[in-house]
Subunit: 248 residues, 2 copies
Amino acid sequence: MKVFSVFGITQSGKTTTIENIIKELKKRRYSVGSVKEIHYEEFAIDDEGSNTSRHKRAGAELVTARGYYETDILFPRRLSVEEILKFYQHDYVVLEGVTDSNVPKIITAHNIEEIEERLDRTVFAISGRVSNEINEYKGIPIISSITDIEKLVDLIEEKVFEKLPQFLEECCSSCGYSCNELTEKIIRGEAKREDCSISQSNIKLTINDNDIPMVPFVQNILYNSVIGVVKELQGYQKDHKIIVKIGE
Amino acid sequence: MKVFSVFGITQSGKTTTIENIIKELKKRRYSVGSVKEIHYEEFAIDDEGSNTSRHKRAGAELVTARGYYETDILFPRRLSVEEILKFYQHDYVVLEGVTDSNVPKIITAHNIEEIEERLDRTVFAISGRVSNEINEYKGIPIISSITDIEKLVDLIEEKVFEKLPQFLEECCSSCGYSCNELTEKIIRGEAKREDCSISQSNIKLTINDNDIPMVPFVQNILYNSVIGVVKELQGYQKDHKIIVKIGE
């Protein structure tokens, strides 16, 4: 799953940019999901006095509204981006206004000052109102989503990669970097997505809580044996975490 | 996870009954979630023109709104109750207005006619406005959630059991019944929750932390596939606890 974020000040063209990107990605036959960060304290999606709101007030810790054409799962707390992305299995996920995630980013801005305030090493493109005036800033292309959407989405296809995990540096830096550093290096062309070592060994075995090391050959046999069965079951999704427990 | 449904005609006291049940369950230190079935075609939780609505119109297939104090995952389609319940890990989940799920049910009603129209073998209690007039119908207790909430929740604790899986009869009837029939028999006291053979087995499978129920036939295939490989490895002992993790 490829994830990127579009962020910038209000009225800089953020939602318009995202609408155009989503439409163009869909035109190219990708599946697309999105996440909208909402920056005002009072935000509640359901109306005060609605039945879902009454369930919450009574103490329900998770409330779902199921209609004929939509189903809304309402968590009464702020989830991390990593938690949210567990619900997604799309080719691309666009984050709107999310800045605290280690993904490639597009800034939308009115002018150079706004770009300068937000620019960091994860930014690979600039869009929004400023694109009417200039077409590059510090080597980063500035592209209008209104007049040049194909060029912008070409760049997304080129630059955005399968999301890296988000491990603490203390838990994993086996590629030589933190996940954030590797993200920046891939965007700058100084490293590759394949440099993330986590993606390489994918299966673990314990017997009575002891880790059993397996050579890659045996890993593959066990992996194929389990996946061979599990992928036929309802609930299976590629790349989901699978746990089989025997004799507990 | 124990799941039950409260259903009945509009204004029969459904939401009030659920509010009182949730409050009492929380008072008894249970974790509680809820699902609200919405019975009008035009339902959309977000306003026309809102940013999440613009993402949907542009083609996003899953949209999340993340605020400071809530996170709302918006599926632009009707999910089945089984799909919805995968998001829940609570002691109790209360369904409001859901009739197509094999769980114990409470009817809310104004009068006996409304009860009669809805009564089936999954109903273990009646509440709502009719509870001001009578206190039993065909052996089923009628209890007010306003004046007698403790008695109503005592009955919920007694009658509602860990949700059964929802297999088609052709896939599993190894207990001798369909899942719906076993649900009815447990509610009527003619069978026990433990009669479901799925829960007895020696092998468990989770995908992304969700338990995946398997019919005995599939349990055996997965068990034999894993043991077939693992028993050749150093460290294997018969009857030891084995855990295989993929993609963590």
